[in-house]
Symmetry: C2
Subunit: 387 residues, 2 copies
Amino acid sequence: MLDFTFQNPAKILFGKDQVPKVGKEVKKFSERILLVYGGGSIKRSGLYDEVTQILKENGVHYEELPGVQANPRITSVREGIRLCRENNLDLVLAVGGGSTIDCAKAIACGFYHDGDPWDFFIRKARVTNALPIGVILTLAATGSEMNGNTVINNDDTMDKKGIGSPRLVPKFSILDPTYTFTVPANQTAAGVVDIISHIFETYFSANNDAYLQDRMCEAVIKTCIHYGPIALKEPENYEARANLMWASTVALNGLLSTGKRTDWATHMIEHEVSAIYDMTHGLGLAILTPYWMEYVLDDSTVEKLADYARNVWGVSGQDNYEVAREGIRNTQEFFKSLGLSTTLKEEGVKEESLETMAKKATEYGPLGNFKKLETSDVLEILKKAYA
Amino acid sequence: MLDFTFQNPAKILFGKDQVPKVGKEVKKFSERILLVYGGGSIKRSGLYDEVTQILKENGVHYEELPGVQANPRITSVREGIRLCRENNLDLVLAVGGGSTIDCAKAIACGFYHDGDPWDFFIRKARVTNALPIGVILTLAATGSEMNGNTVINNDDTMDKKGIGSPRLVPKFSILDPTYTFTVPANQTAAGVVDIISHIFETYFSANNDAYLQDRMCEAVIKTCIHYGPIALKEPENYEARANLMWASTVALNGLLSTGKRTDWATHMIEHEVSAIYDMTHGLGLAILTPYWMEYVLDDSTVEKLADYARNVWGVSGQDNYEVAREGIRNTQEFFKSLGLSTTLKEEGVKEESLETMAKKATEYGPLGNFKKLETSDVLEILKKAYA
């Protein structure tokens, strides 16, 4: 097990009727806040009315940044920073899914940065301070509600890049699973894949001595496999929505990656796909992951991939390669059963853009640790995933 | 899944060569501290010399409270409070296992209490403030290194009682598995049982809808079953010691009990045994647990106990009762294989004290949630565990 430091002070308020607590939690830090949200879903669900009513009752002044897109844009971040500065706002409250939270985080640190907030993402600036961040989560997927990571798109450069800092960990996150009842099937499915993929990035690791963490990773994957189909069939099944929501948080709050060398190659490749095609992140991961698994399968990785197949899918057999391949097939079949595509072509990706993606994905060097991937490796994976 | 609030800001520094960081971590809070430790083991291992040297190099003044016993006494707590007050110390650094940490916690809150620190444990006072607490852990067992719980013995009243408060969560805990290489076999074994038992208290729950948490509980139990025997055979096996150490922390840092109604009956019964007989806590739990499992097995609990047998021990079969009983047998056999006794009689417990224990264990009402236990139920379990 590798040496590690672990600390995550985020306060999680989980369950029914937690939203009314937002007033008290906000007021511990601020009475003038920026309310960040996405499209109209929180207005349709009644959450917008509930939250703004509570803020008013608590005497909290708020300005609004609506319209944050899936794959949030740096332009929204700039607008949010402007609003905070001009209105003396000193807390950013995200109401939504991972994109909204990520936008809020970039605003929170950008507020203290003299230059353009994109500087953080191209390594021209480091996060040294940030406004406090609060979250009301409406989608089980990214885990952004309990970590210091943010991923932002730049349309000018067709880039999608991420940063992380302990200063960007939300002070509090309210997780009410009933607010995910109305998440459409395709978003629910993509969220399930995103959770599983976060685990894969940690689980498929070059060091195999973090047994506890690996068994806990399998616990999260099994939870997704168990409840993903239930949530699709019965969108208002509280038990399914609650387990998926807490799984999304646990999958990426830092606990499961303690003592491990993580991979993140699949995520980096997917970022290049959705930087150009604005594809839902989880859908891109669902397409790419099985092809990545097949590509990295060799003598150095077969044991781990066979462990996965046996422990998660109950595959039996003596031959590790056969067992591993059966696990990969099960993975792809599962993603397909959630209604997700299995090729990039189906989703409108053009073959001629694959090379650009491969080059951009590796611009800072090879990807991954489970198996190192050069530009040519990434291109091979993208080609296989294409059709 | 039950509603819950989860927050645990403790900073964990895990691995080899973490101890030198104690100077920097302490100085974030204080330059005058109380150093709390137990018997001579930290002097024999060289840890005492290392820590005091680092403190000196960092200009940190320390006073010492040595000799904290297993099942720490309220008398040590009183002495620690006196030392802090007389010497203007404002951080308590525990170097040792759960008993030392628990003593440090009671000192930390007792410092701010006008009356006797035992008041907290008999519900005459509540924790409203506490000195910051730091930990260097030397035993994988109690999980006290990452929670706000403390259990203290009172020899005058033959009581062993616990309290919990977010204010008693350590600011930092240094976990270097190499310092557990010298833990004797019986303490290693008792520690493994203590970890497993903490999981049982959460896992065997009346509500069965926290699937994620239950699978993660099984992950921790499997880790203990896998590495317990290895640590006994190869005391300097780093992988085994590291997995057990992190398992001890994860088992009781609050994450796995989120959304669950916990039980704690077995712990409460064991506390009465070790209040009178000063038995190692984990040993008492090893003896009592299988008898508790057998006693609570009925139509309302059989499904969960069968789940346990299937998921942890790989027991197969259709009949839930048979499967559950096989799981209980496996549990007792495992504890026995670690070299631990299976009856209270073997450990010198007198039959005539069982009734006192049963009465004291239930003095505030019936125990447990998985199955409620009245005084007569507790007495039955103690009698079965006796011989």
